[in-house]
């Protein structure tokens, strides 16, 4: 993709993502925070599209904006702390200092490091390359893939056992 359109898209999506993330952190009503989290996830999906990651953008919308956000809204409803929920704890000031320090370190490192970027065109569409890399015989990711499926099964059974009424 080229030029000005991607730049405009990046700035708009970045502004929306940062603004909605700030709203998630600072809103008092936790149900509104959960809904703004969906907006943040969708704008991150747009960021993936500006990075030529079409499959990942679709997965982001399906898993994060679909499944995880619905789970979070369910949890907010079931725990009924919505109106008074999102209070600060005693350590908010050290937390602010730590996260500002973290931000400064990240910005300093990413600006001062000489990344070996290349100007090759990206693979597009990404699905074929992703599948061949993921399931390649010699240097693929077949074992992590199987472990991930076992992890999902274990998480599903664990969630059922934990949330069951005794």
């Amino acid at each position: 993709m080229t030029g000005v359109g991607v730049a405009i898209g990046f700035w708009v999506l970045a502004a929306v993502a940062v603004a909605s993330a700030l709203a998630v952190v600072f809103l008092r009503n936790i149900l509104r925070a959960a809904l703004l989290l969906v907006l943040c996830f969708v704008s991150v999906a747009g960021i993936y599209i500006t990075l030529n990651a079409d499959f990942l953008a679709a997965v982001q919308v399906l898993i994060y904006a679909g499944a995880i956000a619905i789970l979070l809204v369910f949890a907010v409803m079931l725990t009924r702390d919505a109106p008074r929920g999102n209070l600060l704890n005693r350590l908010w000031f050290p937390a602010l200092i730590i996260s500002l320090l973290m931000l400064m370190v990240v910005i300093y490192v990413s600006v001062s490091t000489d990344w070996h970027t290349v100007t090759e065109a990206a693979a597009e569409p990404t699905t074929l390359t992703l599948a061949t890399t993921l399931f390649d015989k010699e240097k693929g990711f077949v074992l992590p893939f199987e472990i991930a499926s076992v992890l999902l099964l274990a998480a599903m059974i664990g969630a059922l056992v934990l949330a069951k009424e005794r």
Binding site: A7, L56, L71, I98, L151
Partner: protein, 103 residues
Amino acid sequence: MTIGLNHYLILAGVLFSIGLYGALSRRNAVAILMCIEIMLNAVNITMVAFSRYIVPTALTGQIFAIFIMTVAAAEAAVALAIFISIYRHRETVDVERMDLMKW
């Protein structure tokens, strides 16, 4: 001006710091989980950006991002089940009052 790797890294850093502040300073456990999801999203952005600008044809970063999403989904499901279980016993999801294992 053209968008480079640094723009994406700084955006991800900003999102990560916002999520970190939220995760450290909130009292509601579900809100803390939301902030952790923001942090995981920021890490995914750096993965995809490195993959795009350093190995544009190999896409290994995107595969790592897919695994991070899998683990995030599993973690969200288990954490929410734990919160619902705690709420059923103690009528609260305030992390300052979850002190059952503290002595």
